[in-house]
Amino acid sequence: MLKYIVKRILYLIPVIFVISIILFALLNLMPGSPEQFMVQCAPNQSQEQCNQAREDFRIRNGYDKPLPTQYVLWITNVIQGDLGESSRFNMPVADAVGPFIKNSIILNAWVLVMSFLIAIPIGILSAVKRYSFFDNFWQVFSLLGISMPSFFFGILLIYLFSMTLQWTPLSGMITTGYQAPNIFAHWWDIFKHMILPSTVLIIGSLAGTIRYVRSAMLDIIRQDYIRTARAKGLSERVVIYSHAFRNALIPVVTLVAFSIPALFSGSTITESIFQWPGIGQVLIRALNEQDFSVVLAMNMFYAMLALLANLIMDVSYALVDPRVKLS
């Protein structure tokens, strides 16, 4: 097993290199001139001063050098742990994006936990009571959730709960000017701000998970050993929850593993409607303003996470399903 993991990780290295070259090339194909965004002229600055500053910026960031040189410079620094400096934030990329990633994780973790907590029982029940009203309701409802544009749904919730009923704050992560007396009050405040954006995200993600669990469960219910269990005269409860459910969990585990990268990624649209200070908005702005260090670092990070999640998924399969052998 260990040998397998080490081998897989070794295989990853060339893949990551190829990805880095593709990413770097793609990014440099993007048209634009970052200095126009990054070097703003101060009102009391003369045009010459401003012009000089923009030229300096190009040279300082190496945008005047040929592409292969730029790539080698960049990758050498990355290997040494230097992801570069964000031209927007004027600080190392890791320091700049850190707080935003943290906020995204808070939101996404809650969404992930909640959507699995809701979707797994519903998926199982839907499978057990196939074609019942319950099944049909969730099929339609979850489809509605995934079909509704998050922008529209978000605005709808804001209109209803923030503007009309005034139950929830309009945006942000904390109440401006509120000094929480203790840690619980602090988290309660964050939770209040999280209700609307997480509702949008949870409802958007339910459909996939419910269907996945439902079909996994349906597969299992048709298996011979379930029929055997029923034939043994076990109660339906025991059949479903200890025989069927545990086996149906195997594909669900892989789904959970596959969701791990999603923890770290932002949901740009939902974040911007609710001004949740997550990574999604930062990444979009970095792209628009050509903050190359941030875009490259984040995309590399996501690529590596995806590769890692694949590995975890394979390993976890082997862990939960004794029939699977890794070699």
Binding site: S46, Q49, T176, S272, R285
Partner: protein, 883 residues
């Protein structure tokens, strides 16, 4: 008796003889009477020159009916007219009398009465409202008639205080000449039972929350701060020796400066100018330590220093003596530059294409860096195409023989004199400059804290190079420690905390010295909170924020003006939106084509749709908020100094014909308007314009208007919409591409000017072939795009410019003025605008009326184009919650 008889007979004979001679008729000329020879009337006054005039003639009797007027006069137009009243008698004898008629406009000197006061009133259910001007606080003053406040007439329109909505009450005042002015008061009537949601917000009584777009967290000048970062910078930086006033002028900040002198160096040519400031005693940083002259010197040195530049910051104080050495970190050996025309010519060779190659080894060495002009021209030394060649000085690099350990590097133009005074010396060769004081503006920075009591120092080039790769220096120290957390403040507020993506928290700086009027802020806490643009107005309506600055979207403005406890604060923009051309390329290189396109774009329709009434169409590169514009004739109603380019197909067609786009595809058959679809020139090239727009409402609205207009006159438009970054890349850098790879002729964008409006950097040919002159626009005295009219004059005050000037000349003339030469500046500016209006490197479209919105409890908030909410914050208070 016989004698008597003889006498009588001879008399009879004499008479008889006399009677026998042919009769000699003596005609009398007719006489004109009753003429008033010098008449002065008011415009449109009835005037009959023959009224009361009569003519008589000795022979013909009364000839009054034969009186005629010879020559023209026009009693509807102001001016002097000379004409004659004439009559001819039956003997063809004519008598004329000359009349001089002066038609005066009594209103030309009469100033309209001025109405001033609020333009917005929030009516809360249950209040009483009396629309009388005196009650609302609307007054009127007339230059001739004095205070007319008592005679203001109120028209309440359909005001209904029982139904929620926005109503308009008009106040009109008329002066003794019958000239009237009016002011519209918008009355917002709130529905019954609605309270101000702000009143229930906890801690609202001493906290101001301002909504903003996302900040970058760069809170120290020089590090590419965004407009939103600048809020924090402006709030935490004060005590500068130069202040920008509410009216947009630079002046000595009397709150900070005890006394100052400005002395020119005693040399004949380009004397340097030294400002010596003596600062007031007792000023303190927010942490209570004293502000001394050393902190000002430190600040100027830092912003120009090598270490700051090395940390990635923009350098300032370019026009201060010794900047180059200080910024480069070494004393220069000298410059190489051609000493004279012969040396310049001798250094030239030409390659096969005729491109000039300059060999600098032929040039002289000039040891004095002060002599380095940025660019030298010798007009007769030209390239193969006859254009003058630029000779930029070449630095010989650092003087390696200089011993920095004995005489350390210094910023020569910035000197500490004693604890309370310091001096800044400006380079003589960059003077005069119209915005002079902006070049000596300096705010104090806490030297001891930033340098950690001397642990960090300014470095010269060698010291910087000798630093270990992991060592830090003053520039990096400030960037890593204070950029995000500028803890020490000299402004109205001090920094408390910044949470990325969420807010910046500030609190009152007890040690603030006040702005240039001595005003200090009173609201204890201030948050700059990031709000999503989709719901920013809702945040204001819900009372989650108190101020939302800079709203431009029409639908948001309409909403915020109509609903909730929200008060608008409006001001006119110092900038404009335009269609910019690449004037060095394709058909639009010809100004006539640009003019023709302007005649084809329905600009007024576009501006109405885009701004929904909050702004207007402009005819030149100016903003409605600029004082030059407001003082110019262009701002007067009905003024036609500038070409308005209203849609005019015939004009466009004749301009295109004149520019050679007059044929069908064979290049010979004439293009027929209305029958043919696309124009060609004699070479058979199609008249195609490639437009690069952005993915925005702006471009979405503009596109159909362009296509519709252009197609009518046979101009083919190829429209492409791309992200803004792509537009900028093409707009700024397309000139670097070979002609064959160039694509786009025009772009749409908008610009906001600096307080110091200085178009030299954008339109002068010094910047040709750089992205700074983005239009690649050239209009010089030697090669004007349109011949210069030497008889043209513009007079402002006591100053008259005679002879039209090129854009190159005007941009230089405008900046090389002393700050008090405002008439000169105004005159050159007007000439600049008139010429830009003719040559159209950009087709000007619109300038906005910007809106800030504030919760109605926030009092004292005023704004102008130069006076943002951060400047107004010192006057703001929070009104008591409604009972």
């Amino acid at each position: 008796m016989k004698k008597i008889t003889v006498l009588l007979l001879s008399l009879v004979l004499v008479f008889a003889l006399a009677a026998c001679k042919p009769k000699v008729e003596v005609n009398h000329p007719p006489v004109i009477n009753g003429v008033n020879e010098e008449v002065t009337i008011n415009i449109n006054d009835p005037y009959d020159p023959l009224d009361g005039v009569y003519a008589i003639d000795t022979e013909d009797g009364d000839l009054t009916s034969g009186l005629t007027v010879v020559g023209d006069y026009d009693n509807t137009t102001q001016g002097n007219y000379t004409f004659a009243i004439s009559v001819t008698d039956s003997d063809e004898e004519t008598t004329t009398k000359s009349v001089t008629l002066t038609v005066e406009d009594p209103y030309s000197d009469n100033e309209s009465p001025v109405l001033s006061g609020v333009t917005f009133y929030l009516f809360v259910y249950g209040e009483t409202f009396d629309s009388a001007a005196s009650n609302i606080g609307i007054t009127s003053l007339d230059a001739e008639d004095g205070d007319l406040s008592a005679s203001i007439v109120v028209d309440e329109g359909d005001l209904d205080l029982t139904t929620a909505g926005t109503y308009f009450v008009t106040y009109t005042v008329t002066d003794s000449l019958g000239v009237s002015s009016s002011l519209v008061l918008a009355v917002k009537v709130l529905p019954e039972g609605v309270s101000n949601p702000r009143d229930t917000r906890s801690g609202a009584s001493d906290t101001l929350i301002v909504g903003t777009s996302e900040m970058n967290g760069n809170f120290i000048s020089g590090f590419g701060s965004s407009a939103y970062d600048n809020y924090v910078i402006d709030l935490t930086n004060g005590a500068g020796v130069i202040a920008t006033t509410k009216g947009g002028n630079f002046q000595i900040n009397e709150t900070v400066v005890e006394s100052y002198t400005a002395v020119y160096e005693d040399v004949a040519e380009n004397p340097n100018l030294t400002y010596t400031f003596n600062i007031k005693a007792g000023m303190k940083f927010s942490d209570g330590t004293a502000i001394t002259a050393e902190d000002y010197v430190f600040s100027a040195k830092l912003y120009a220093s090598l270490v700051y530049k090395d940390a990635g910051a923009t350098s300032s104080y370019l026009n201060v003596v010794g900047y180059e050495e200080w910024n480069e970190g070494c004393y220069f050996t000298g410059y190489k530059l051609p000493a004279n025309k012969e040396e310049a010519a001798a250094s030239l060779t030409f390659d096969d294409n005729g491109t000039a190659i300059i060999d600098v080894t032929e040039w002289s060495v000039d040891a004095d860096p002060a002599h380095s002009e940025p660019v030298s021209f010798y007009p007769d030394v030209t390239d193969a195409w006859g254009d003058p060649i630029e000779f930029a000085p070449t630095s010989l690099g650092c003087d390696t023989s200089h011993d920095y350990s004995t005489t350390p590097l210094d910023f020569a133009g910035v000197q500490l004199i004693d604890e309370d005074s310091f001096s800044i010396t400006l380079k003589g060769n960059t003077l005069p400059y119209f915005y002079l004081l902006s070049r000596v503006a300096v705010n104090p920075l806490p030297k001891d804290i930033y340098t950690e009591d001397g642990a960090y120092e300014f470095l010269n080039k060698d010291e910087l190079a000798a630093l270990a790769s992991d060592a830090t220096h003053l520039g990096y120290h400030i960037k890593s420690e204070y950029l995000n957390t500028p803890t020490i403040s000299t402004g109205a507020y001090k920094f408390v905390e910044y949470i990325p993506g969420t807010h910046a928290q500030l609190e009152l700086n007890e040690n603030y010295v006040g702005d240039y009027r001595g005003h200090k802020a009173t609201i204890q806490n201030l948050y700059i909170r990031v709000v999503p643009s989709a719901t920013d107005i809702e945040h204001l309506l819900n009372g989650e924020i108190d101020i939302l600055p800079g709203v431009v979207e029409g639908d948001k403005i309409v909403r915020a003006r109509a609903e909730g406890y929200i008060t608008p604060v409006t001001f006119l923009r110092n900038g404009y939106g335009m269609i910019a051309f690449a004037t060095d390329f394709g058909p639009v290189a010809d100004y006539r084509v640009r003019q023709a396109l302007a005649y084809l774009i329905d600009r007024d329709t576009f501006v109405d749709a885009f701004l929904q009434g909050w702004g207007s169409t402009v005819d030149g590169p100016y903003g409605l908020g600029q004082w030059m514009y407001q003082d110019s004739p262009f701002s007067e109603e009905g003024d036609d100094t500038l070409i308005h380019y209203a849609v005019d197909l015939a004009q466009a067609a004749s301009l295109l014909d004149a520019a050679g786009w007059a044929f069908q595809s064979d290049g010979t058959t004439a293009y027929v308007q209305g029958t043919d679809t696309v124009r060609y020139n004699a070479a058979g090239d199609m008249l195609e314009i490639n437009w690069l727009g952005t993915i925005s409402e702006y471009s979405d609205l503009l596109g159909p208007i362009l296509i519709d207009g252009f197609s009518k006159a046979g101009v083919k438009l190829n429209a492409v919409q791309q992200p803004f970054s792509v537009l900028l890349e093409n707009y700024y850098y397309a000139y670097t591409l070979p002609e064959a790879d160039r694509q786009y002729h025009m772009f749409n964008l908008a610009t906001t000017f600096n307080i110091a409006f200085d178009p030299y950097g954008s339109y002068h040919t010094d910047w040709l072939g750089t992205w700074q002159n983005s239009n690649q626009f050239a209009d010089t005295a030697a090669a004007p795009q349109v011949p210069l009219d030497s008889t043209y004059t513009i007079t402002v005050g006591d100053f008259t410019v005679t002879g039209e000037k090129s854009i190159d000349e005007l941009t230089i003339l405008m900046r090389e003025l002393d700050p008090d030469q405002t008439d000169e500046f105004q005159a050159y500016w007007e000439m600049f605008i008139i010429r830009m209006n003719l040559l159209l490197p950009n087709i000007p479209l619109y300038s906005n009326q910007y809106h800030h919105f504030a919760n109605s409890s926030i009092k004292g908030f005023e704004a102008s184009v130069f006076w943002d909410w951060v400047a107004s914050v010192v006057d703001m208070t929070i009104g008591a919650p409604a009972a």
